[in-house]
């Protein structure tokens, strides 16, 4: 019989090797000391983004970083920013805050980016806040509408691009009041901060509901849950039903109502109302369910080729992002990249993190962009667009403005009034290349 004899020396060796592994793992970072001008050289500007490239949230959103990269490559081929080429480092966070924190650490401490731009998700951005604040890293034009990011004391270096969900709900409430006066209204909403923001906005707008149907995030995958939504709606018989959830929930609600023969006027929140994303999560036939619904957006419709921004971004997409279909995600990615280039230009040739943040606070509200709503950037506000226009979905999932022109409903995240205006969007810079 063989007996395995473990010696004391052997155990000591394993322990020492493990220690060495940890120490060796640690040593290479010694030289990577932090400096304030991280991410800027004579010839390059390095930026980073964390976004879901894998996992349940990836379909649709995974196009955003590559659309941004395509736009930066276009700018680089046309001289860059103050002679510097932009490099975007893309990291997958799988819509997981743990991964978001790890990859943000990598971007800031290892890749030494100047700023994080366009990162997606509320929890994912929340997870990195302390670290971002400690290092004074600009976190620009992030892709979340959580109203908490309006707190400039808590998030001093963070700027969002989306209007807050409170703003969206207030604008939607006003639109319903004007266009469906006296009609009964119901809502299906995600039961978390996203939905809480929406309810807050609708309450401020004075919207009364005959039925309020909350759902837990992820439960939309369960047909019995969707069945309960529809039976709840059928019992309340609303004339208008608001769907304030993600794309998969929107597809489930529309599909469930169609199967049950339940008819209502759907009004869809912007997060879950993109036809391409619905097609990606629920199949191409699901897009047809959007037909006749009302949706909200602050950008032009991606199918509106008469819009100069859309036409320019489509041309860039064809050349620099070959093979990727142009949709709202691509449009939003390129628009975010354009805002980033304008911010970099506004910061001047002596580019630092502090200069960059100061430039957005000073002149961010004047940046040219595809959005019809005004940008709200100032020293006291870090929220981007502050309004929405409303449109109707056609049979292919394309949205067109009600009445043929873009009428804006602008507001704030507080109790301010909703103001109906005509867009005064700055003209697109020549060839889509910022000249501020």
């Amino acid at each position: 019989m063989l007996v395995h004899r473990r010696t004391t020396r052997g155990k000591l060796a394993v322990t020492l090797v493990a220690t060495a592994a940890l120490v060796i793992n640690a040593l290479p970072a010694h030289a990577l000391n932090f400096s304030k001008e991280d991410g800027v050289t004579q010839s390059t500007i390095t930026l980073g983004i964390t976004s879901p490239l894998t996992g349940a949230a990836a379909p649709g959103y995974n196009k955003v970083p590559y659309a941004m990269q395509a736009y930066f490559n276009y700018v680089n081929d046309n001289g860059g920013v103050n002679g510097r080429k932009i490099k975007l480092i893309i990291k997958d966070d799988a819509y997981n805050p743990v991964l978001a924190k790890s990859v943000t650490n990598d971007l800031v401490l290892q890749s030494k980016v100047l700023a994080i731009v366009g990162s997606l998700g509320t929890a994912e951005n929340e997870a990195t806040t302390r670290f971002i604040n400690d290092h004074g890293v600009p976190r620009l034009f992030i892709n979340t509408g959580f109203s908490g990011f309006a707190n400039t004391a808590k998030y001093p270096t963070t700027y969002t691009v989306l209007p807050s969900y409170v703003m969206e709900a207030k604008a939607m409430g006003q639109y319903i009041k004007e266009n469906f006066a006296g009609k009964s209204v119901a809502i299906i909403y995600q039961d978390d901060d996203f939905g809480a923001d929406a309810l807050k906005g609708f309450a401020t707008a004075g919207t009364n509901f005959v039925a309020k149907i909350p759902y837990a995030s992820g439960s939309q995958a369960d047909p019995t849950v969707v069945g309960k939504w529809i039976s709840g709606l059928a019992a309340a018989k609303p004339d208008v039903t608001i769907m304030f959830g993600v794309s998969s929930a929107t597809a489930a609600a529309l599909g469930g109502a169609y199967k049950a023969g339940f008819k209502t006027q759907w009004v869809l929140g912007s997060v879950g109302g993109d036809g391409t994303t619905i097609a990606a999560v629920a199949g191409p036939t699901a897009v047809g369910l959007l037909y006749g619904a009302i949706g909200a957006s602050f950008l032009p419709a991606p199918t509106d080729t008469s819009d100069p921004y859309v036409a320019q971004f489509q041309a860039i997409n064809t050349k620099y992002n070959a093979g990727v279909s142009f949709d709202n995600n691509v449009l939003q990615g390129m628009n975010t990249a354009m805002l980033t280039v304008e911010a970099l230009r506004a910061a001047g040739a002596k580019l630092t993190r502090a200069n960059l943040l100061a430039a957005i606070a000073k002149s961010g509200s004047t940046f040219a962009s595809a959005g019809f709503a005004p940008l709200g950037y100032s020293a006291t506000s870090h929220i981007g667009y502050n309004g929405y226009w409303f449109g109707t979905y056609g049979p292919t999932g394309a949205i067109k403005p009600v009445g043929g022109s873009y009428t804006l409903y602008t507001t704030d995240s507080g109790t301010g009034a909703v103001v109906k205006t005509v867009s005064k969007r700055p003209a697109m810079p020549e060839k889509g290349l910022p000249n501020n």
Binding site: A18, L22, A29, K101, R130, D192, G218
Partner: protein, 332 residues
């Protein structure tokens, strides 16, 4: 020939030296490595929970990510809502996880092999989403908090650059080494011997007077205590607990770490943890080298992990243990 084992005192001495070396080393490294070091320490505890359960007690769990979630939410809830001090929040997470593990362990003792694996897998899928159902747990956004910086006296000693990540590294490393010491002692006690006996031959163990079912419940409880401690540390270091922070892939990751380490090797858990933390970085460097395409960035970490697992299972079934000295065998 009787093997020469370290006494509990010598183990404590050795681990104290190791701890001192690591804490000193943390002064010479950047924040990124300190954070990764803290991650390694948390994974060491989590992998140890699997090593103890599977390698020593013979029970298979694919759901320890869910038990980590219980520990994480317990600690986060007590810290952020009930204002427990950091240390007590950790202990509360440990307590809640251990209690849950005890209850689960009673059920687990009646199951074995694929049935136990399937049950725990269902737990990993379902449990974190329960947080969505309760407002007090923060729904999908979870609970967000900040454990703050190191005590001022420590910052005075260590200086200005003693960042929060280095403080995390200290906390996690000290706790991980204490756990290794405690578990090593436990495995060398009667309990450890009884677990191994019941794992190798339950019938023979029963005939020898060992209460196999009780041993399984105890092993599951201790393993859950470790997993919940790892989860509590995980949440407190992240400053956030959400359902997405404890995905199914976390359960698979710690099992992967245990397999890479060698399921029966407690010391190997350090190697397994280092590999788990190193894989994303290795994949990132590789994808940059190969052109940084979307497909590469998205798929390379999974590919590298899978290849490593296949190689280890085929060629190093006892794990990635580093052997400087060849084992000596003696015929008896």
């Amino acid at each position: 020939m009787r093997s020469r084992r370290l006494s509990a005192f010598h183990r404590a001495l050795l681990l104290s030296l190791l701890g001192a070396a690591l804490l000193i080393a943390s002064s010479f490294v950047g924040e990124l490595r300190a954070y990764e070091g803290a991650q390694v320490a948390v994974y060491v505890i989590a992998i140890s929970s699997i090593t103890l359960l599977t390698g020593y007690s013979g029970q298979i769990s694919l759901g320890h990510g869910a038990i980590m979630a219980i520990g994480g939410y317990g600690a986060a809830l007590s810290f952020s809502l009930w204002n427990f001090p950091f240390e007590f929040a950790l202990l509360f997470g440990l307590f809640i996880g251990t209690l849950s593990g005890f209850i689960l362990g009673i059920a687990a003792a009646r199951l074995s092999g694929p049935y136990l694996a399937g049950t725990t897998l269902a737990l990993a899928v379902g449990l974190p989403t329960i947080a969505d159902q309760f407002k007090v747990l923060g729904g999908e956004q979870g609970l967000n908090f900040d454990i703050g910086d190191a005590p001022s006296w420590l910052r005075k000693i260590e200086g200005e650059d003693f960042t929060q990540y280095k403080w995390f590294f200290w906390i996690a490393t000290i706790i991980a080494l204490m756990v290794i010491w405690a578990i090593t002692n436990l495995l060398h006690s009667n309990y450890g011997r009884n677990w191994r006996a019941a794992r190798n031959n339950p019938v023979a163990a029963s005939l020898a007077g060992i209460n196999v079912a009780r041993g399984k419940v105890f092993a599951f409880t201790v393993s859950s205590a470790l997993a919940s401690l790892a989860g509590a540390l995980f949440g407190l270091l992240l400053g956030l607990v959400t359902p997405t922070a404890f995905p199914l892939s976390l359960s698979f990751a710690i099992v992967t770490g245990a397999v890479l380490a060698g399921v029966g090797q407690l010391a190997g858990s350090i190697v397994g943890a280092v590999v788990l933390v190193a894989i994303p970085e290795l994949s990132s460097a590789l994808s940059t080298h190969l052109g940084d395409s979307q497909k590469l960035i998205a798929n390379l970490p999974g590919l590298v992990t899978s290849l490593l697992l296949i190689i280890v299972v085929l060629f190093m079934p006892n794990g990635l243990r580093v052997r400087i000295f060849k084992n000596k065998f003696k015929s008896t």
